[in-house]
Amino acid sequence: MAEQQKKYSKPLPHIDEENRPWWEALQRHELYIQKCRECGATRYYPRALCTQCLSERTEWVRCAGRGKVYTFTVTYQNQAPGFRESLPYVMAYVELDEGIKMLTNLVDCRPEDVKIGMPVEVVYEDVTPEVTLAKFRPAR
C-alpha cells in the first residue's frame, strides 16, 4: 500500500528545450513568467517567441508566488488514473500579482472553503525527481 502511494500516476508534462528553464526553476522552487525585451509583453506558459512581436529576446521575471483565485471548480468525477483516487480536488485559475492567470490545484484547504478572490500563495510539490508542480494554498 505504502509502495503504491509513492508511485506518482498522474500525467506528467513533456519537458523539452523550449520550456526546460521554466521547469528547472520550479525544481529550485522558483516561479517565473516571461517578458519580451522588445515590446514588454508578458506571457505564460513559456515559449520561445513573443506572441505580440515575434521577438525571441526574452527576460525571465521571477514571481512573488502570490495571487488570488480567479475561478475554480471542485471536481467530483474524473476517471483518469491518479485523479480518480484523489477526488474531490480543486482545480483553479490563480491570477498572480504579476497579472498572469495560471491553471493549478488548490491544496491545504477544504474544497468548501475555496472562494473566488481568496488570496493564495505558491507551494511547490516535487512529484518526481524531474518534475515540480506549482500549486497554491490559502495565503498565510
Binding site: K10, P11, L12, P13, H14, I15, E18, N19, I33, A41, T42, R43, Y44, Y45, R47, T51, Y70, T71, F72, T73, V74, T75, Y76, Q77, N78, Q79, A80, G82, F83, S86, Y89, M91, A92, Y93, G99, I100, K101, M102, L103, T104, N105, P111, I116, G117, V127, V131, L133
Partner: protein, 386 residues
Amino acid sequence: MSLSRKAAVAGAYEHPTRFAPDKSMFQIMAESIRGALADAGLTIKDVDGLCTTGIGMSGMGIVGFCDYMNLTPNFVDSTSIGGSSFVAHTAHAAAAIAAGLCSVCVVVYGSTAASSRFAIGTGGAGGGGDPCDQYEIPFGPTTVGSYAMVAQRHMHEYGTTSEQLAEIAVTMRLHASMNPVAKYREPITVGDVLASRIISSPLHLLDCCIISDGGGALVITSAERARDLRKKPVYVLGTGETVRHVADGHRDFLEIAPAQSGRLAFERAGVTHKDIDLAMIYDSFTITVLATLENLGFCKRGEGGAFVQGGRLRFDGELPCNTDGGGLSSNHPGMRGIFLVIEAARQLRGECGPRQVRDCNVALVHGTGGTLGTRHSGATLILSNQ
C-alpha cells in the same frame, strides 16, 4: 464578395440511432449521407465535395472515408475544431460552392461514443501533446471542469444562479419530449437538476450533455440548383468562425468565441438580433448556452441568467432555442454541431410537428468546440428560408 444566399442547405438528415453497437462509425456516416441525399432528391453520383472532421489517429480519416464510400471529390475539408466543426464545414462548403470549387458538397458526421463507452466529459483531458497541454494535464482538467470554471466565474461576477442554469436544462428536456428520437424524453424540473449530483462544481449531472451514438449529414449546393430540388432551400446568409484560448495568461474567460464569430455572421448576413426566429446553440453544458447567448449579443454580458428564465428559450417563447432537445436531452455523440444545422433546416422548412416554431424564417446556429475554460472554437451560421 458576399456569400449571402449563394449557397443553400438542400438536404438534411439526422440518423435516428442513439445506441448502435452493431454499427461502425463509417456505416452511420454512410447511412446519414444516404438519408440526406434522399431528402434533397440527389444521388451519390452528384456529390463532388466532402466535409467531415479529422477522424482517427492520423487525423486524415476523411481519406479513409472516401475510400470506404468510393468517392473521389473535387473538394475536401476535414477542419477539425471540435463540436463546432460541422457548422464551420457548412460555411466552408457554401464558400467552396460560391467559388466554383464543387457543386454538391456533403457534410457528414457519425460516432459510436455511447456503445464504445467513451467517457466524453470526465475521462480526463486526453491528447496532451501540445505545448499548452503541459501546463494543464498535471492538474486534472476535464471537459466538465473547464466549463465549470466559466460558470463559477459568471456566478461570482454577476450573481448567476444554479436555478437559472437549470432552467436551460429543463427547457431542452421539454423540447426533447416532443422529439420522438430524443434519448431522454421524460420532463424534468429545476429541482431535479439541482438534486442531481455535482460532477464538477457548480455543474450538476443534469447541467451536462448526455452521451449517445449518432450521426447526420447535410447536402449543400448552389442557391440556384437548390431551388430545383425536392425541398425548400435553406439559404446560407452569413458565417463566422474563430478561436479563444488562454491568451498568454491574460484572458477574460467570460469573453468567448461567439463574440467575434457572431458579430461577423450578423454583419455578413445583414440581419439583426430581432430578425432571429430560432437559435440553435451548442449545449454541451447549461453554461455554454448562457455564455453563448450573451456573447452573441442577445442580451448584455451578465444578464444571461435572467434572460434564460421565464420560458424565453421555449419553442413557443421569445427566442426558441434547441428545439430538438439539444445535447442536454436528445443526443450528444461527442461533437454535435451538425445537429444544430439539421434542426435549423427542418424548422425553417416547417417540418417539426409539435415542436415547430411559428413563423420560423431566420435561424442562427452557433457551435462550440473544445473547452470554454481553456481553448475553444466557435462557428456561427445565419440561415433563412427566404
